[in-house]
C-alpha cells in the first residue's frame, strides 16, 4: 500500500488529481460549516455579476441565490452520489462476476447473458427512465446509476477470477477442503483487487457526470442543490448571466478530471509494467 502511494505521488497527473480531489472533499465536508446559509436562500438581488460584491464572490442567480454557496453545498451531493452509487455497483458486480468466473459453465453463461443485456441497453436512457418512473430523489438517482454501471465490474472480475482460478494456491485451497465462499473471498478476490480499484475510481467520475446530467435534465433530488441542477437552472438566462452556468460546470469538470487522473495514476502505480510501455 505504501509502495502504491509512493508511486502515485511520483506520477504528476495522479498527484494533481489527488490535490484537486482533496480540496473538493474538504469543501464538501467543511464548506457548509463556514457557509451556514442555505444555498436556496436569497442572498442578494438577482443577477449580481461575479467578483463585484465581496459577500457573493461568484455572483447570484436569477432568484438572487449565492452561486458560491450552491457550489459548496453541491459538492456534497456530487461526491456522495459518485461514491455511494459506485459502492452499490461494486456490491452487485463483484459477486456476480466472481460467481460467473469461479463456477463457469451454465452459471457463467446465464450471468454473462444477463450482464450483456444491461450492457446493450443505452445506459443514460435507462437511467433517465428509471429515475423518472421511481420519482427523482437521491435514492432513485443512486439506484439508477448503480443499475447502469455494474456490468463492467462483473465482466472485469469474471476475467480476473477465470485466470486466478487455475493457480496452484487456489487448487491447494480446494484440496484442503475449503468452502467455495472462503476460496473466492479469501484466496481469489484479494488478488483481483487492483484492477477493480482502478475501475472504481473511474466509475466514481462517470457517476458524477451521470448525476449532473440527470440533475441538468430536471431529474435531481428536488431538496438538494447540485451542480447539474445549477447549470440547468442557469441555462435559460445564459445570455444575461453566463456565470450561473460557467462556475458549476467548472466544478464538475475539475472533480471528474481529478478522478480520471487518479484512476490513471493508480493504474500506473498498480501495473508498473504497463505504465512504462505506455509512455
Amino acid at each position: 500500500m505504501k509502495k502504491v502511494l509512493r508511486a502515485m505521488l511520483r506520477n504528476p497527473g495522479g498527484m494533481i488529481g489527488l490535490i484537486i480531489l482533496l480540496i473538493a472533499v474538504c469543501i464538501a465536508v467543511f464548506g457548509p460549516m463556514v457557509f451556514p446559509n442555505s444555498p436556496w436562500r436569497m442572498a442578494q438581488r438577482p443577477f449580481v455579476p461575479p467578483f463585484t460584491l465581496p459577500t457573493v464572490p461568484l455572483g447570484t442567480d436569477a432568484l438572487g441565490r449565492d452561486v458560491l454557496a450552491g457550489i459548496i453545498y453541491g459538492a456534497r451531493v456530487s461526491l456522495l452520489v459518485g461514491l455511494v452509487s459506485t459502492l452499490a455497483a461494486l456490491t452487485v458486480g463483484v459477486p456476480l462476476g466472481a460467481m460467473a468466473g469461479y463456477f463457469g459453465g451454465r452459471a457463467d453463461d446465464a450471468l454473462m447473458r444477463f450482464t450483456e443485456f444491461f450492457q446493450t441497453v443505452p445506459s443514460f436512457a435507462l437511467a433517465i427512465v428509471l429515475v423518472a418512473v421511481l420519482q427523482p430523489s437521491i435514492y432513485s438517482i443512486v439506484a439508477a446509476i448503480a443499475i447502469v454501471s455494474w456490468p463492467p465490474v462483473a465482466r472485469l472480475v469474471r476475467g480476473e477470477v477465470l485466470s486466478l482460478r487455475t493457480r496452484e494456491y487456489v487448487q491447494a485451497a480446494v484440496v484442503t477442503g475449503q468452502s467455495n465462499t472462503w476460496i473466492i473471498c479469501r484466496e481469489i478476490l484479494p488478488n483481483a483487487l487492483s484492477p477493480v480499484i482502478v475501475l472504481a475510481s473511474l466509475m466514481v467520475a462517470t457517476a458524477i457526470l451521470l448525476e449532473s446530467s440527470l440533475s441538468f435534465l430536471g431529474l435531481g433530488d428536488p431538496n438538494l442543490i447540485s451542480w447539474g441542477y445549477m447549470v440547468g437552472a442557469g441555462r435559460t438566462v445564459i445570455r444575461q448571466a453566463w456565470w450561473i452556468t460557467v462556475f458549476p460546470g467548472v466544478a464538475i469538470l475539475l472533480s471528474v478530471l481529478a478522478l480520471n487522473l487518479i484512476g490513471e495514476g493508480l493504474n500506473d502505480a498498480l501495473n508498473p509494467r504497463l505504465a512504462k510501455d505506455g509512455r
Partner: protein, 323 residues
C-alpha cells in the same frame, strides 16, 4: 456466414424481447393507476371513462395476458398513445428519427475521423509538446459534461461571436429551398454535432494513441524497419492499420452512449430529434412516450451492434465466423 448472421439476429431478438418486458414492468412501476393517469392526461377522470380506458387497453385483464398484448403491440410497432400530444407514440418518434440520425451520424463520423487523426498524431510525436497538448486536451474533454460543452459553445459561437445559430434545425420562417436549405441545416448542425463529437473524439484519440504505442513495439514493425521502409510508411501502413481494430471495436460499442449524448445535446440546442422528444416527455411526465422512445433507442443500439459485428467479420478475417 449465414448461420452466423442468423445466430446474431436470434440473439438480438431475444434481447429486444427482454427490453420490451422490462419496459412493460417499468410502465407499471410508474406512479398512479395507468388508466387514471391516462384519463387525467385526456382531461377527464370520471369513473365510467376510467373503466372504458381499462377495458380498451386491457388493464382489467391478468398480468401475463397484459404482457402478451403489450409485446404483440410493440412487435407491430404500436407503442401506445401519447395523450399529451394527442398522437400515437410511434408517429411522434418516426417524425423525429431522421433529425437524430443526422445529428448522431455526423457526430460519429467527425469524432472517429478527428479522434483517430489526433491520436495518431500524438503517437507519432510521442513525448513532444504536440503529444502533451493533445493528451491534455483529450483528458479535459473526456471529463467535461456534454450539456456544459453545449452551453459553452453557445456562449462562445452564438452569443459572443455571433457566427452560428444556437438552436433549432433550420431558420424559422426563412423557407429556404434547395441548396440554401441544405446550407441552413448544416449551419444549425455544426454546434450540436461538434458538441457530441468532442467527447467521443477525446475517447478515440486516447485509444488510438495507446493502441498505436502498443503496436509499435511488436516484432513485425521491427521487421518493416529492417526492410528499410520509411518511418511515415511504417506508421501509416503497419502501425495505424493494426492499431485501429480496438478503436473500431470501441466505436461500435458507443452507440448507446451516443444516444445518451443526443438527449443532452438536443435538449440544449432544441434539435427536433428523439432526444429532445424524450426530454419533453420527461417534463410532461408522459410515460407512454418516454418508454416508447426508450424501446426505440434500445432497438437502434441493437441494430447498430449487429451491423458493426458483421463489419468486423468482414474487415478482420482473423475473427472466426463459427464462434
Amino acid at each position: 456466414m449465414l448461420s452466423f448472421i442468423a445466430q446474431r439476429i436470434v440473439k438480438g431478438v431475444i434481447v429486444l424481447l427482454a427490453i420490451i418486458v422490462l419496459n412493460f414492468f417499468l410502465i407499471r412501476l410508474a406512479p398512479g393507476d395507468p388508466a387514471v393517469v391516462m384519463a387525467g392526461e385526456a382531461g377527464a377522470s370520471d369513473q365510467i371513462f376510467v373503466q372504458q380506458l381499462r377495458e380498451k387497453f386491457g388493464l382489467d385483464r391478468p398480468l401475463p395476458e397484459q404482457l402478451f398484448l403489450y409485446v404483440k403491440g410493440i412487435l407491430s410497432f404500436d407503442l401506445g398513445f401519447s395523450f399529451r400530444q394527442q398522437m400515437p407514440v410511434s408517429t411522434l418518434i418516426l417524425e423525429r428519427l431522421p433529425a437524430t440520425l443526422l445529428l448522431t451520424g455526423t457526430a460519429f463520423v467527425i469524432s472517429l475521423v478527428l479522434g483517430i487523426f489526433f491520436g495518431a498524431l500524438a503517437a507519432r510525436w510521442a513525448g513532444t509538446w504536440a503529444d502533451t497538448l493533445i493528451t491534455v486536451l483529450a483528458l479535459i474533454f473526456y471529463a467535461t459534461p456534454l450539456f456544459w460543452v453545449a452551453l459553452m459553445a453557445i456562449l462562445l459561437f452564438s452569443v459572443a461571436l455571433d457566427w452560428l445559430p444556437s438552436f433549432g434545425y433550420e431558420t424559422v420562417g426563412a423557407n429556404y429551398m434547395g441548396f440554401a436549405h441544405i446550407l441552413d441545416v448544416a449551419a444549425h448542425l455544426i454546434l450540436p454535432a461538434l458538441t457530441i463529437g468532442l467527447f467521443f473524439m477525446a475517447t478515440y484519440a486516447r485509444m488510438t494513441r495507446a493502441s498505436m504505442l502498443e503496436v509499435k513495439r511488436l516484432d513485425f514493425v521491427k521487421t518493416a524497419r529492417a526492410k528499410g521502409l520509411g518511418d511515415n510508411l511504417i506508421q501509416r501502413r503497419h502501425v495505424l492499420r493494426n492499431a485501429l481494430l480496438p478503436v473500431v471495436t470501441l466505436a461500435g460499442l458507443q452507440a448507446g452512449t451516443l444516444i445518451g449524448g443526443a438527449v443532452l445535446t438536443e435538449t440544449v440546442f432544441a434539435w427536433p430529434g428523439i432526444g429532445r422528444l424524450m426530454y419533453d416527455a420527461l417534463l410532461q411526465r408522459d410515460y407512454n412516450l418516454l418508454l416508447g422512445v426508450f424501446v426505440v433507442c434500445s432497438a437502434m443500439v441493437l441494430v447498430f451492434n449487429l451491423v458493426t459485428d458483421l463489419i468486423y467479420r468482414l474487415v478482420d478475417p482473423r475473427i472466426e465466423f463459427a464462434s
